[in-house]
Symmetry: C2
Subunit: 339 residues, 2 copies
C-alpha cells in the first residue's frame, strides 16, 4: 500500500533507522489507516536470537512469598515458550545489605538483555539501576517501586491502600472497648521494610480518620528463641485485644503462639500473603484473614513486559502498575490458586 518492501516496513516498525523520512511517513500513514497491530508471536517465530534475562530477588524459600513471584515468571516463560529465553536467578539475603550489594554489583557485567528486580535496599537498587541505565539494559520492578530509578515498568500494590483496607476490616468488626494489637517484627540489623512501613502508615491514617487511634496497641516480636513466650505475655497483658495484626508474611508465628500458649479462639488474626504456612493457618482457622498482592501476576507481568519491550518497544503512558489487593479467608481460599 505504501509502495515499499517488507524490509523497509520492518525497519520502521523497530525504529532501526536507515529509512528516508518520506517513506517513513508514508508507511506510518498506512499503518494507522489499516489499524496495524504487531503480532508478537509470529515475530518470535521468525526471530532467530534468544534472550538472556537476570531475575534478582530476595531468597525464595519454598512456599514463601517470593517463590510465588518466581512461579509467575515461570508461567510467563511457558506462555511465551516460542521465544528462546534463558533466565539467571540471583537471590540475595533480604536482611543483609552487604549480600544484596555483592549480588547487585555482579549483575551489570552479565550483559543481560533485561533484568527483573525485586528491590529491598534503596541504595543498592539505585546504584544497580544507574549501571543498567548506563548500559541501556531495561529492567522491571516487582513487589515495590523505587523512586529515582527508570524502570520500563513496575508491578506492585499500593501498600498504604493495603493498610487502609486492613483498617476498613477492623472498623467493620471491632467491638465496643476492644483493642487492636499490632505486631512489628524486629530482625537482626534490619531497618523495617518500606512496604511494612507504608502499610502501617495506611493503617494508622485510616484509624485516626475514623477515631480509632486509641484502640491500637503496638508490640514487637523479638528475633530471639523465646519470641513465642513474649507474644503470649503480650496477649495476657492486654486481655481486651480482639484483633491481632501482622504487617508482613509471618502471621503464622503469632498464630502458633496464640494456639500453643493462649488456647484462645476469640482473637482474630489478620496477616499478609498466601505463604504455605499462612495457608495452613487459614485452613485450621488460626488466621482469620490474609491480605494478598497477586505475587504470581506480578512475576508474570514483569517478564511479559520485558519481552514486549524487547520485541517491540511498546511504550505506555503510566508504567507504574498497581495490582489488586485481595482478601482471602478460609471460605474463598480454595479458589485463589492464582492465574
Amino acid at each position: 500500500m505504501a509502495g515499499v518492501s517488507a524490509g523497509t516496513v520492518d525497519r520502521i516498525l523497530h525504529g532501526r533507522g536507515n529509512v528516508s523520512e518520506a517513506k517513513r511517513q508514508a508507511v506510518e500513514a498506512v499503518l494507522g489507516k489499516v489499524g496495524y497491530k504487531f503480532n508478537i508471536h509470529t515475530s518470535a517465530v521468525s526471530l532467530k536470537r534468544g534472550y538472556h534475562f537476570v531475575v534478582t530477588t530476595p531468597e525464595a524459600g519454598e512456599g514463601e512469598y517470593w517463590s510465588s513471584v518466581i512461579a509467575g515468571i515461570r508461567e510467563a516463560l511457558e506462555e511465551y515458550s516460542d521465544i528462546q529465553i534463558q533466565l539467571d536467578y540471583l537471590f540475595y539475603d533480604q536482611f543483609d545489605e552487604s549480600s544484596c550489594r555483592s549480588v547487585f554489583d555482579s549483575i551489570p557485567q552479565l550483559e543481560a538483555d533485561g533484568v527483573i528486580l525485586g528491590p529491598t535496599f534503596r541504595r543498592e537498587t539505585l546504584s544497580l539501576c544507574e549501571a543498567l541505565d548506563g548500559k541501556g539494559i531495561p529492567y522491571v520492578f516487582v513487589d515495590a517501586n523505587i523512586e529515582g530509578a527508570n524502570p520500563v515498568a513496575s508491578y506492585s500494590v499500593d501498600q498504604e491502600a493495603c493498610g487502609a483496607f486492613l483498617g476498613r476490616m477492623l472498623l467493620a468488626g471491632l467491638h465496643e472497648g476492644k483493642k487492636i494489637l499490632l505486631f512489628r517484627s524486629e530482625r537482626r540489623g534490619d531497618e523495617r521494610s518500606s512496604n511494612t512501613l507504608a502499610r502501617e502508615k495506611g493503617l494508622t491514617d485510616f484509624l485516626k480518620a475514623n477515631g480509632l487511634s486509641d484502640r491500637l496497641i503496638r508490640s514487637t516480636i523479638p528475633p530471639t528463641d523465646d519470641a513465642e513466650n513474649i507474644i503470649v505475655d503480650t496477649f495476657r497483658a492486654n486481655p481486651q485485644v480482639q484483633y491481632a495484626i501482622v504487617l508482613n508474611s509471618r502471621g503464622n508465628i503469632i498464630a502458633s503462639a496464640i494456639q500453643n500458649g493462649l488456647k484462645s479462639d476469640s482473637i482474630q488474626l489478620i496477616g499478609f500473603d498466601l505463604t504455605r504456612d499462612n495457608i495452613k493457618c487459614l485452613e485450621e482457622g488460626t488466621i482469620t484473614a490474609l491480605l494478598c498482592q497477586r505475587p504470581q501476576l506480578q512475576g508474570f507481568s514483569a517478564l511479559r513486559r520485558l519481552i514486549s519491550w524487547l520485541l517491540y518497544r511498546s511504550r505506555e503512558e503510566d508504567e507504574r502498575h498497581f495490582l489488586p489487593i485481595d482478601l482471602v479467608v478460609k471460605e474463598n481460599l480454595p479458589y485463589y490458586r492464582e492465574m
Copy 2:
C-alpha cells in the same frame, strides 16, 4: 525425526485421520520426546478460515454485571486478533422464560462454530444444549454451570462458597445482640435465580454452623414503585439490624433507601458485583463491601477456551472452572479494574 512429512504430522496433531497406525505411533513418540507444544498463534496465521461464534446471555445494560462478561469476551477477541472471529450477540430477558426460549430456539440454525452461553432457565438451556450436542457444536458456560449438559468448559464461581464467605464476614463483625437483615428481591413471574439460592444456602449453612441462625431476618423487596418505603419500614421495624445483605447485584437499591429514608450510617450493607451503581455506592460509602466473581475473566476464559478447542482439541481433566471470589471495599476498589 519420525521420517514423515509435515502434512502427516499435521493430520496426526488434529486427529484428522488418514494416517497409518505405525506412523501415528512413531510421530507421537517423537512428539513426547521433544516436548512438543502446539503454537496456537502461528496456527492461526496460516489458517485461512475464520470462526463464527454466538454469545447468548441476559441483556447486558451498560455498567451491569453481564456487560463485564461481554467486556471480557471482547478482550479475548483483541488478544486473539490474529484469528478471524465473528461474534453474534443474542440477548434475552432474564426475567422472561419465553424470551429466553425464543432466542435459544433460534441458535442451532445459525450453524455457529461455537456458543458462549450465560444460562438462566434450566429447561431452555438443556434443550439448547441437546440441540447443539446433536450438531456437534461446542459450547461453554459462563456465570453458572447447568447439570446435565456437556459443555466444553464452564467458568463460574462456587456460589455456596460465596454465601459462606459472606457469613465469615458477618461472623467477624457482628456485635452482641445485633441482627442481619437479608433482602430477597421478588420480581415479576420470577422464580429466584439459582445463583441467589445457592448463595443463600451457603450463608444459612454457615450461620447455622456458627450458632448465628437466630440473628438472621429475611425480608423481601417488592417489585413495586413504593419499594423504598417498604425497605425503610423494614429497617424501622428492626432497629437492631447491623448488617443488611443483598444476594444479587441490586444492593444499590437498599443503599438509596437507607440514604434517603433512614439517614443512618450505622448499618453496614454488603452486596454483590461491581456494577456501575454499586461502585458509586462503594465510593460514597453507602455500601460497605461487595463480593465479586471476576465476570471479565469469565468471558475472557470462555472465548479463549472455545478457540483452543477448535484450533486444537485440547482436553483437560476437570473443565469445571471455579474463579476466585473477591471482596471489594472502598479502599481496594481503585485497583480492581479487572485483568
